[in-house]
Symmetry: C2
Subunit: 80 residues, 2 copies
């Protein structure tokens, strides 16, 4: 069993209205000093087999095909 964590974030320069809304909400809750918030997604994936190389290749392919929109998003895969 291999566990991996994939973190998908918007590329720099891509507008993030959700992050802006969170900034506004934090400000309304009187949190000061927040410069910027950007929201992304995290996927925790459990793979049945124990072949690390194959798991990493598979997960990169999953990101390219399904989990991330590589036009506007970056992804990072960490085996844990």
């Amino acid at each position: 069993m291999i566990k991996a964590r994939v973190i998908v974030t918007l590329k720099n320069g891509v507008l993030d209205p959700q992050g802006k809304a969170i900034e506004g909400a934090l400000s309304a809750l009187s949190f000061s000093g927040v410069d910027q918030v950007r929201q992304g997604k995290v996927f925790d994936i459990a793979i049945e087999h124990d072949d690390k190389a194959k798991a990493e290749a598979d997960i990169n392919a999953m990101c390219e095909k399904l989990l991330a929109n590589t036009v506007i998003e970056d992804y990072k895969v960490e085996l844990v």
Copy 2:
């Protein structure tokens, strides 16, 4: 300027229909060997000042009040 990453994940035992949908989609894309997928959220927060202790306390408070629903979600704060 302090940058922090907050990762919010569903607690164990909480149903994750979004993760189940991703499992189904991966299976439809012929990825085999995927045991489980769970989806969470990531927030990249930039804080204006340089006081690490205050930043960490503030971000924990933001998580408790806004970013995470602590009934069903866990959060982890990493200063980067």
